[in-house]
Subunit: 110 residues, 2 copies
Amino acid sequence: MGLAKSEMFTDKQNLISSYAKVFGHPARVAILEHLFAINSCICGDLVDVIGLAQPTISQHLKELKNIGLIKGNVEGTSVCYCIHKENWTAMKATINEFLNQDINCNTDCC
Amino acid sequence: MGLAKSEMFTDKQNLISSYAKVFGHPARVAILEHLFAINSCICGDLVDVIGLAQPTISQHLKELKNIGLIKGNVEGTSVCYCIHKENWTAMKATINEFLNQDINCNTDCC
DNA sequence: TTTATTTATCGTAATATTGCAATATTATAA
DNA sequence: TTATAATATTGCAATATTACGATAAATAAA
């Protein structure tokens, strides 16, 4: 079969996994790192930097845009992409809440 | 075609995306949250808690174990699973380094 | 040993993801 | 208008993921 219904899980669980899924491909991690590194917005040279074909990069950018982590600004024939600061911060809060759960396992099994 | 070769990306990018991929399914998020919540190790009642079939849960547990975030201890006929504290902490450091990149976009495009 | 219990594995179907060639779209320049 | 340039979309093939029934493996209890 396919995927479990999202109704099986809480909104927060679905949100966390949605963010994580976006980070779950090295190309998207590389795109985001590059967007951070150049300290400025970028458009098409991601194709050269990452080493994937233009439609593939465009598709990854679309997913990043869909979840709100980047935004694109049309500038002439090109599009300038950059991190969506507010949404990135919000995402960080959600993920950190999950990652920072207390570890209190005090049984003998572990 | 298939996936991009992992050699296209840095070890760190591949590591980040590997962790993220594991978190990229709500069932695994739910399993981990439950392991944290019960403050103790657990084995088979995850099937009841999550609501997926036993082979499916076993498969998700295997992925969590493979990447090192949980460990399982055989106790009689059941297996007691729990968070692997050291590895969880190490994973957190890796992910946080990625999430906490500075946002310094000072151009007009965003 | 036989039986019951728990978990893991196998096999397979359904679905999702990834990558790219071809093409369309959009905007600028000539 | 006609090129040119940059990006997006479409269509499709290859692969990966997910889910579960059936079954195997391991252990404990009778």
